[in-house]
Amino acid sequence: MMGENLITALEITVVGMGLVFGAIALLWGVMSLLVRATADRPESAPEAPHPTGDVLERQKRAAAVAVAAALLREQQAQPHEFPVPPTPIVSAWQAVMRARLLQQKGPRQDPRR
């Protein structure tokens, strides 16, 4: 029984890892295609209209608000330890929580002490 199961397990391992690698390799191809096919063409810049006075005013206010919001967010989040690229990887909550572990040695301190 065990011997038979072991053979089955070995078969599953060989076929399974083969399938996983096969599917992943396929994904590699698909991803390469995808990125290449959807690459932005360079001539798209001039489409942006010039801001008018009213729009500028709105943009200024938006900027002020964005700064305030960013400050608020920063205070809530952990400080970044790594040089983080523009894309927000760190948004995952687990990232924040698990990342703390890396910084920490020993048991957690009671903040009231």
């Binding site: 199961n5 890892m17 983080v84 990232a95 990342a99 957690r108």
Partner: protein, 375 residues
């Protein structure tokens, strides 16, 4: 009449309390302590620990079919609803652009799944039947919802130890992985710097990616479709940028509530009767081996890629291919930086890490399909 009849009724709680219950309550306290003092995966270990304590208080009726845990089990575990909802939320929080800008890193997500199959073999050697051995192996997916999903389908009786192993060891990744990393890589390899000149990824690519992955994996591995499609649904909500309400719901309400209920309910399966068995100890040991095997396979494949690429790839990022998103990615980058303070490989490690997330789900589905076909 009254007092003589009443005493048994009043003391029934204490009278039915067993040493096994005490042991399990202690185990629940340990999980809570890990959550609170060490902040190890607290959103899961705390509810699991609390659920475990409650399951070992006698005669509360909470485990009955109409008790709280019976209701939650039927509402979201036996039909796999909670893990799937969690995946919608996780998908809404994953950024695949580091992976899309360096597509070849996706291969590391395949290598990091070897632990699943290696552990399956080891479990078979310990005479676990095939369905149980496979469920134990899937601890090596190093991804909570995948482990719970597959275990519920193949061997629901082992759900408790498998879930506990998956989440506990996942929280211990920063302790489990570094020794393996140091053992299998040379100092020189760990100091390899990687160029970061990623191909720009358009918004269209980011939107099409979840749809294409769903179709490709869905058609090739139907058993992985529920998991992968919910992960990709969350990601599509996020990247589409036109359904902010739904994205917010996915990454807040849905995942938070599902996580709390999942943790409590999984914890409630940790009754003394079902948990205090030789099996459990074997599963906990096998689970640890699964993590080590995954890491080793990822590192070795990383070394192969380093060799093939002519030393342009730091093998440490192979360790991020195990999944344990996003912890393993950050850890690999940290270990590299520990050797050389100016060595930043975070983006590559995160690419490998998201590849590991995809690979884990796929491997879970493949395993499910193969074992179902074999049985």
């Amino acid at each position: 009449m009254f007092s003589s009849d009443l005493w048994p009724e009043l003391s029934k709680g204490l009278a039915n309390f067993t040493p096994g219950n005490a042991v399990m309550i202690a185990a629940g306290l340990v999980l809570i302590a890990l959550a609170v003092l060490k902040e190890y995966e607290p959103v899961l270990l705390l509810p699991i620990g609390f659920g475990c304590i409650l399951a070992n208080i006698p005669l509360t009726g909470m485990l009955d079919d109409h008790g709280l845990f019976g209701v939650l089990y039927n509402a979201g575990i036996s039909n796999e609803l909670f893990p799937l909802l969690i995946f919608v939320g996780v998908g809404a929080m994953i950024d695949f652009s580091p992976l899309l800008s360096q597509p070849k890193l996706v291969l590391l997500g395949a290598a990091g799944q070897f632990g699943i199959f290696g552990t399956l073999i080891l479990a078979t050697l310990l005479r676990f039947p095939l369905n149980e051995a496979a469920s134990i192996g899937v601890i090596g997916a190093i991804d909570g919802p995948t482990s719970i999903y597959v275990a519920t389908k193949l061997a629901p009786d082992l759900l408790a130890p498998i879930a506990v192993a998956a989440y506990s060891y996942m929280s211990l990744v920063p302790i489990i992985q570094p020794p393996v990393m140091k053992l299998l890589t040379t100092r020189q390899e760990r100091r390899i710097r990687m160029e970061y000149a990623p191909r720009p990824v358009s918004r269209r690519a980011l939107i099409l990616f979840p749809i294409v992955v769903t179709l490709v994996i869905g058609l090739l591995v139907p058993d992985a479709t529920p998991l992968i499609s919910m992960l990709m649904l969350g990601n599509l909500l996020r990247e589409s940028r036109v359904v902010e309400r739904l994205t917010r719901a996915a990454e807040n309400e849905i995942i938070n509530v599902a996580t709390l209920f999942l943790g409590l309910t999984v914890g409630s399966t940790m009754t003394a009767a079902s948990f205090l068995r030789l099996d459990t100890i074997q599963i906990l040991i096998l689970g640890l081996l699964a993590f080590v095997l995954d890491t080793a396979a990822g590192l070795l494949f990383g070394k192969l890629m380093a060799r093939v690429s002519g030393g342009k790839i730091n093998p440490l990022i192979g360790a991020a291919g195990i999944s344990a998103f996003p912890m393993a990615g950050r850890l690999a980058a940290q270990v590299a930086q520990d050797e050389d303070f100016e060595n930043f490989i975070l983006m590559h490690a995160m690419g490998a890490n998201t590849a590991g997330q995809l690979g884990s789900v796929m491997a879970g589905g493949v395993l499910l399909a193969l074992v179902t076909a074999m049985m």
